[in-house]
Symmetry: C2
Subunit: 206 residues, 2 copies
Amino acid sequence: MNLPSQLLEQAVEEFSKLPGVGKKTALRYVLHLLKQNPDELKKWSATVARLSEEIKYCNTCFAISEQPVCEICSNPVRDHSTICIIEDIRDLIAIENTSQYKGTYHILGGIISPINGIGPMDLNINALVKRLEEGAVKEIIMALPSTMEGDTTNFYLYKKLSSFNLSVSTLARGVPVGDDLEYTDEVTLGQSILLRVPYESSIARK
Amino acid sequence: MNLPSQLLEQAVEEFSKLPGVGKKTALRYVLHLLKQNPDELKKWSATVARLSEEIKYCNTCFAISEQPVCEICSNPVRDHSTICIIEDIRDLIAIENTSQYKGTYHILGGIISPINGIGPMDLNINALVKRLEEGAVKEIIMALPSTMEGDTTNFYLYKKLSSFNLSVSTLARGVPVGDDLEYTDEVTLGQSILLRVPYESSIARK
């Protein structure tokens, strides 16, 4: 793609670094920006510049936060004896949106993935161990992706945390709520039969 | 979606103004940016800031250009007696990539679309008329989208330009090259029968 201006080319280059964005989509984004008035564009660029300087991470759980300790970790109403281990901030937002969880979080910042060169040392695991050593935590919920990498990370954490006296669980796997069985993939459907639950307990949860 | 930081929320807000980008994709983009090093982010924000100040448009054809007159309009090798009328710069890039066109362009900056409140006055039509009044142009190719809005704009332009002594054409419509007939939509296939071309001329073009 030959663009008629170097600056345009550079802007397209920057935008095409975004995940899932190719040159054509990047050009569409840049042309959209060009149609905005200059004040809009300046506001946009100032916001991006502020990101690198002002976004901080919680000292305890590594969530994005404007304070040294995030709102969840500093909230006395939350259950500080339970930690939910997640991959990144998007999982925190997703779980918070369910309103079903009242404990705290710990963001690993990734999952073990040899293909992408990510090992246990690249994750916030030492900080997690330190939190556990303080002794207040009784329960760990491992809410990592249900992929091979997620399973590997679950197993690593399970071994690593076995010296602590903790109840360790993972998310329930099964048929998504509202799904027709014929559209559920075989692996999930198979697992949901193996992991079937007594009917009484399934209605008690609703 | 409740985000844990106002600045994050603001950045997501800005990115979700991009065409086709919702809150979830915007968050994905912003989190990707946050993983970059601060220098990358500063470069990014500087590029966006420069867009509003440094991108200029060609005085003649309204293409994005770094000079007052763009490379195509100032190129003596191009055929200045032919103008191809297009909607925006992406069409120019697409046509240039075919290497089949040696004339100049005129960017309308949109097409007539009553639903979006875009009338002839919002397009670069007066500037086009001025170019034609100079008398050097012999041929007009209307390369607008093959939609109802494109057809409306074609018809408006055809009427508007009828006082000039010009050869006016639109792009050929028919079965895309390399397509199976069974996958071609009915309207296109129907038109391609009505607008059938003598076999001799179809092979002569190759």
